[in-house]
Symmetry: C2
Subunit: 140 residues, 2 copies
DNA sequence: TAGCATAGGGATAATTTTATCCCTTATATC
DNA sequence: GATATAAGGGATAAAATTATCCCTATGCTA
């Protein structure tokens, strides 16, 4: 298994949190699970772009970090359901804020990110509904 | 210059925000600048662990993404000061939340992160004061 | 019997991100 | 003359993260 060679910096809250959220799909996974999209196959359908392998790996990390719980149903074909733990739920206001900030500033951000010379292409498939929409939270 | 080969996913706010905050030191840099630690040399001293090169690169990205502004004083040796833009400031509540969440759950997080088999070592130098401490914000 | 669905994981390639090393500029100080 | 300071950046090495490919298991359906 892979072993980190450079020590992880965890000297401030920022870095600790970053470690938990570190992974291309982690925030989106937490978000999906919070919306009751809890089976890997469902998540795979919801999140255009994740591969099964990466999904498995990042879910496992979230589980190891205590953000989600995994329930295995002893049946075939396999059935597994993930759910947020208490500490996982406590991250949701932050995930929502990240999501809303991005959406609110979408026009600006798309411009600056696209202008970035190292960004040659961008993938923009329509976004599935998010929890903050479902629950009608509005922060203007 | 480096060019991305896999298209960037920006189909939801979460990914847009992630792109802006993507970089080992980005949140910490924004935080430092928000606290008036605005010269590269000061930041270098404050943030144990960043190298000058990475500092330069990540500050430049933050600038290209419109989160910070750079003021160059025409003198020698050079003097440069970074400051948050309006949209950069609008990120601060989120940065604070990330920071506070990490600190609040430090004990738990240190445990699960340290137990992680791929994490062999961890660097823990004392953390400099953060803005939310200076401004006495408390979210308990 | 072949193929699908479901979830997981090993091995390795490809990509992206960070780290390391060295060079530039111009002034001040030892 | 050597050295420090301040900021920036090119080239490349190293490390970390993601992607790709293939294999496991078992019951159901065509």
């Amino acid at each position: 298994m892979y072993e980190r060679k450079i020590p992880l910096t965890i000297d401030c809250g920022l870095h600790l949190t970053k470690e938990v959220l570190n992974g291309k799909w982690k925030p989106a996974l937490l978000n999906a699970i919070s919306m009751d999209v809890k089976r890997p196959s469902e998540i795979l359908r919801l999140l255009q772009g994740v591969t099964r392998r990466v999904l498995t790996v990042q879910l496992k990390e979230l589980e190891e970090h205590g953000m989600v719980e995994k329930k295995i149903y002893p049946q075939l074909p396999p059935k597994v359901e993930y759910s947020l733990t208490e500490i996982g739920w406590s991250l949701m206001p932050i995930i929502d804020a990240l999501n809303q900030w991005g959406d609110k500033n979408r026009q600006f951000l798309e411009t600056v990110i696209t202008q970035d010379p190292k960004t040659t292409q961008v993938s923009k498939s329509p976004c599935p509904a998010y929890r903050h929409l479902l629950t009608e939270r509005d922060t203007g």
